[in-house]
């Protein structure tokens, strides 16, 4: 096109557009007189204009963000495959597959010399930090269950590429095929289908017991090894790709959701449960529905819910009844059809309620259909044996994983460049793998934490929160994100001759930037000199402006003996578990520390606290332990009256034992004054406020404690306690669920859930929580069975009677707190017994009695003069 021609065209178009559409034809006929081609060109442009109203009006904005974020580097745009390249310590060998959930490579782990399957997650899955954390936690938890039918995860992490990081999952590499590939060869024999299904449901039952739902059971996610062993892949991964859960009555259709949700692949829809298709929350029964679809497909060679388009499939999932199993599957009995039908019920309530129920049904069928003695059934036997033996080691493993991976909700916070308000001091680690100097690591880390933690301008996570990051390969930023801090201090050491070389790094969590780095060489002999030099370097690096008093605190030495300090730190960490044997061991450590340094005030303070803790967990009557508590605390304060923790523990003593409520509050205030940024001190005051019924003050106080130590199960759990006493039962349940979600194996996490359900009168839920707690507390199978029988025969009342009898029997051989027993009597309606027990609790000065005025369970007793007298005796106003 010649420039003149273009100009002419452009001008004519503009002139035509300025005219009303009715006048345009006449205008063009005149203007283009004789030039028919030109007229037609303008006419077609005008027609295009009529259709162009919304054309490219929306900028490519959403796509731009994704494109930018997803592509790790400019170059990567044109090089989508990593084959032949090295990422971290992985040599990428071949692309095994790719899908909506990412690309999977066969890779060689060059460090450990083994082949792994490496899945790179698409960036769009990993933009939400909280989801990624959650997924990681679930994946690790499931993997730690160590079930033969669950794919083992080796590593989850991020790999740095030139301009960004990619999340990856490294798992064992399975030499076999996916069930999808297997099904390409046609439908399966009944025996084989049952065998595979039982293996899958075995994996599900273990995962469900750990509160983890797969959410995406489909043939692509099941690998079958050459020897027939099944591995279920990608637990919880589906959640990363899920839209927010909609309320049950939501009218937003799945189609809408699918059309806006990238990555919703048609294949998945066919295995989706109706509730998932509606966008509602998936639970264990949703997995069983998907498994039903799978079993149907294995036997019939086709899917029960089919359709030409995604929406047709969804419609079928939601409304259609599955067709009967066809002729080719003559072996299918009426029972089998019934089992599948039950799995595929539209309503969850009509399905098997747990994987175990389905296992029972399938096994009954299997023995009934006289499975021939083939290799398949032998595998089944091994699988069964494994199933029987997984439970205990798995629970122990799970507990270990949970100890190592306490996670709280992550909030991504932007930090202005120089503003470091919160800090996690990671445990000191050796620069290279090798023998570790535990004493040095423990001593220096805890000194840094204690010293920096005493500064007002800085919130420092306590040792109990960071001790789990001691692994040599810990990612410091991941730890920082988990702890919700602005920065992490990552210190490494290395022995160089008779010297120790320290490499210190301060990293900003938001973007991984190194804010400061330094090295320090020290003689190995003097651990105090090391600690002092480190503290000085670090405060310099943090660019803190310190007051004179703070400088003093920073140089403060709590003990003259390095060994005593280490004993103290160990004891302190043990106290955090609140288990009787640990508390007793902690007491030994504190006593040893004091023997080494009789001037060690902090050790006295914690010794006093440890004795008090023993009485709170019901090891012995408080009146036996109180004198020891008091003596230790007095000694602590005599040695150092500026110790915040000693004041806080003295406050607890005055509150719970002396019933000196005003005196207790003064001590709490004094402790807070001395150290406003200690989570323990804050929490102690929050407890006080709760027990005094001052909930409006207690809640913000405990929230502050939570900010100081966001991963502490105790603080989070105590939020539930406060909500319960404030009679906000729904909130207490909600909060308890959050805690349980993160710490499902912690018995005490269920305490306030149980009480809240009881007050709401929901016996079923209360008992379920009682059971869960017993399981978390590792109750014996006999005990669990006893509980269930008692509940089945007499409801919650039956269970309470059974529990009361058990405690009364136990009481014959050891001390049992009277408070709980009093409550059981009250709940059983035995008022006289309840009051008698309360009387004994008051005489023992059990901690429990300070809650008499706020405990909702006693509401019907409040007018009884005997109850009033007890409350008065404690010094509370009835």
């Amino acid at each position: 096109m010649k420039p003149e021609h273009w100009q002419q065209l452009d001008q004519l178009l503009e002139a035509a557009l300025e005219r009303p559409s009715a006048a345009r034809a006449a205008f063009l006929a005149e203007a283009c007189a004789g030039n028919e081609t030109l007229r037609q060109e303008v006419e077609s442009l005008l027609r295009a204009d009529a259709r162009a109203a919304s054309f490219i009006e929306t900028p490519a904005a959403a796509l731009a963000a994704e494109a930018l974020a997803q592509q790790p580097a400019w170059d990567a745009l044109t090089a989508p495959s990593w084959v032949g390249q090295r990422l971290g310590h992985y040599e990428m060998l071949a692309l095994l597959g790719a899908g909506g959930m990412g690309e999977v490579y066969l890779a060689q782990d060059v460090q450990l010399g083994r082949k792994v399957a490496l899945k790179l997650l698409p960036a769009r899955f990993t933009v939400e930090v909280e989801r990624v954390r959650r997924f990681e936690r679930e994946a690790r938890t499931v993997s730690a269950l160590n079930h033969p039918n669950i794919l083992t995860i080796y590593e989850i992490g991020t790999l740095a590429t030139e301009a960004g990081e990619t999340h990856f999952i490294a798992t064992e590499f399975i030499d076999g095929q996916t069930l999808r590939e297997r099904l390409h060869g046609g439908r399966l024999e009944l025996n084989e289908a049952l065998d595979l299904t039982l293996q899958i449901v075995g994996a599900l039952s273990v995962a469900h017991a750990a509160n983890i739902i797969h959410r995406d059971i489909k043939p692509e996610n099941v690998m079958v090894r050459r020897d027939g062993l099944v591995k279920v892949l990608d637990f919880g991964l589906a959640k990363l790709n899920e839209a927010p859960v909609l309320p049950a009555n939501s009218s937003v259709s799945t189609l809408e959701k699918l059309s806006t949700e990238p990555g919703a692949v048609m294949g998945t829809v066919a295995y989706m449960s109706p509730e998932q298709a509606r966008g509602q929350k998936a639970d264990a029964r949703s997995d069983l529905f998907s498994l039903g679809v799978l079993l149907f497909e294995m036997l019939a060679g086709q899917r029960p819910f089919a359709g030409a388009t995604t929406s047709d499939v969804i419609a079928a999932v939601l409304t259609a009844e599955p067709p009967p199993l066809r002729q080719p599957c003559a072996a299918a009995s009426a029972e089998l059809e019934q089992i599948i039908g039950k799995c595929l019920s539209k309503e969850r309530e009509a399905r098997y309620q747990s994987a175990e129920e389905l296992i029972v049904a399938l096994k009954a069928l299997q023995s009934g259909s006289q499975v021939e003695g083939t290799a398949t059934s032998r595998q089944l036997e091994t699988a069964k044996a494994r199933f029987a033996s997984w439970r205990w080691p798995a629970i122990a493993g799970l507990a270990a994983v949970l100890m190592a991976g306490l996670v709280w909700f992550l909030v991504w916070r932007r930090v202005p460049p120089d503003q470091i308000k919160s800090l996690a001091v990671l445990p000191l680690r050796p620069l290279q793998a090798g023998t570790r100097d535990e004493a040095l690591e423990l001593g220096t880390t805890s000194t840094l934490i204690t010293r920096l933690g005493s500064l007002r301008q800085l919130i420092v996570r306590p040792e109990s929160a960071v001790e789990k990051y001691a692994r040599a390969d810990q990612d410091p930023l991941a730890a920082g994100r988990e702890q919700k801090v602005d920065a992490v201090l990552d210190n490494r050491y290395q022995r160089v001759g008779d010297k120790l070389r320290f490499r210190l790094r301060l990293l900003r969590v938001a973007d991984g930037a190194t804010l400061w780095a330094d090295t320090l060489d020290q003689q190995t002999t003097d651990s105090f000199a090391i600690e002092d030099a480190l503290s000085a370097k670090v405060t310099g690096g943090l660019k803190l402006t310190l007051s004179e008093a703070e400088k003093e605190l920073l140089a403060k030495r709590y003990t003259k003996s390095a060994e005593a300090w280490q004993l103290y730190v160990r004891g302190r960490l043990l106290l955090h578990t609140r288990r009787i044997p640990d508390i007793e061991k902690a007491i030994t450590y504190f006593e040893q520390a004091i023997a080494l340094d009789p001037g060690f005030a902090l050790a006295y303070a914690k010794l006093g606290h440890a004795y008090a803790s023993l009485s709170w967990v019901g090891q012995a009557p408080p009146k036996e332990l109180a004198p020891k508590t008091k003596a230790a605390l007095d000694q602590a304060l005599k040695l150092d009256d500026q110790l915040a923790e000693a004041h806080a523990h003295l406050a607890e003593y005055k509150h719970y034992y002396e019933w000196d409520f005003a005196g207790a509050e003064l001590e709490h205030k004094c402790a807070l004054e001395l150290n406003p940024s200690s989570a323990d001190v804050r929490q102690a005051y929050a407890f006080y406020l709760t027990y005094m019924g001052r909930f409006e003050q207690a809640i913000p106080e405990i929230k502050k404690a939570e900010e100081l130590d966001p991963t502490s199960i105790w603080i989070s759990r105590n939020v539930a306690q406060t909500l319960y006493f404030a009679r906000r039962y729904d909130d207490a349940i909600e909060q308890s669920r959050r805690v349980i979600d993160l710490h499902p194996n912690s018995g005490p996490a269920y305490n306030w859930l149980i009480k809240a359900w009881e007050m709401k009168g929901d016996e079923q839920s209360a008992f379920a929580a009682y059971l869960k707690r017993a399981e978390a507390n590792r109750a014996s199978p006999d005990e669990l069975a006893g509980m269930k029988v008692a509940f089945a025969s007499g409801g919650l009342k039956g269970y309470r009677r059974w529990e009361l009898d058990r405690r009364l029997a136990r009481e014959k051989s050891r001390y049992v707190g009277h408070g709980d027993i009093a409550i059981f009597y009250a709940q059983l309606g035995e008022k006289e017994q309840a009051l008698a027990r309360l009387q004994r609790a008051v005489e023992d000065r059990t901690l429990y009695v300070v809650t008499l005025t706020i405990e909702p369970q006693w509401d019907s007793y409040r007018t009884d003069p005997r109850f009033v007298a007890l409350v008065r005796r404690v010094g509370l106003v009835p």
């Binding site: 295009a48 900028p59 790719a98």
Partner: protein, 194 residues
């Protein structure tokens, strides 16, 4: 990644404006790096259902790279020009990668067009649009830049007017004509379209 110094960015912009084409080459990785980081951060923060405004992203990248209290409008206009070009490049490569993946066949079930649906333009259409835009540039550079700034750079008409030194009225006129021309060019291949 090294943090570009703001003087360096200003200097490169000025050099580019003065006709030094190598300045653009040196500027590109700096701007890309910043945009990439910002996009990452936005995607992390955004909830489902929110989309990131490209112009906001570009604006923030500019402010961060230049770090000057007194914003030089000339610089800003040029910066937007660089960013829009870059965005076009990134999006096109992205679309092509996706198309390749789609053609890659059975094993690769990468969900392609669902993502692109958000913008109303599918990967394939994006590539065709780019071709048409290149053709448009041979006739009318100004229109092609306008489309680049609006569609790929996410700028409003007012911003485009500022960047191209045109009146708002002219921007509106030119935009309408450019759209008509592009849509016409795109429809030519489709037999059922008139």
């Amino acid at each position: 990644m090294t943090t570009p110094d703001s003087q360096e960015v200003s200097h490169l912009l000025a050099a580019w404006r003065a006709g030094d084409l190598t300045a653009l080459e040196r500027l590109t990785p700096l701007v890309y790096g910043e945009l990439h980081q910002l996009a990452h951060r936005y995607m992390r923060r955004e909830n489902d259902g929110h989309t990131l405004q490209t112009s906001a992203l570009v604006n923030e990248a500019f402010v961060r790279l230049i770090e000057q209290p007194q914003i030089n409008w000339q610089n800003r206009a040029h910066f937007f020009g660089v960013a829009a070009q870059m965005m076009r490049h990134i999006l096109l490569d992205y679309a092509r990668t996706r198309m390749r993946a789609k053609r890659g066949g059975g094993a690769l079930q990468v969900s392609l067009d669902e993502t692109a649906l958000v913008t109303g333009v599918r990967a394939a259409e994006l590539i065709a649009l780019d071709d048409a835009l290149n053709e448009l540039a041979t006739h009318d550079v100004r229109k092609s830049r306008l489309v680049e700034l609006r569609f790929f750079g996410g700028l409003s008409n007012e911003e485009v007017a500022e960047v191209l030194g045109m009146s708002l009225r002219s921007v509106e006129r030119e935009w309408r004509k450019a759209k008509a021309w592009l849509l016409h060019a795109l429809s030519k291949d489709e037999p059922h379209e008139a």
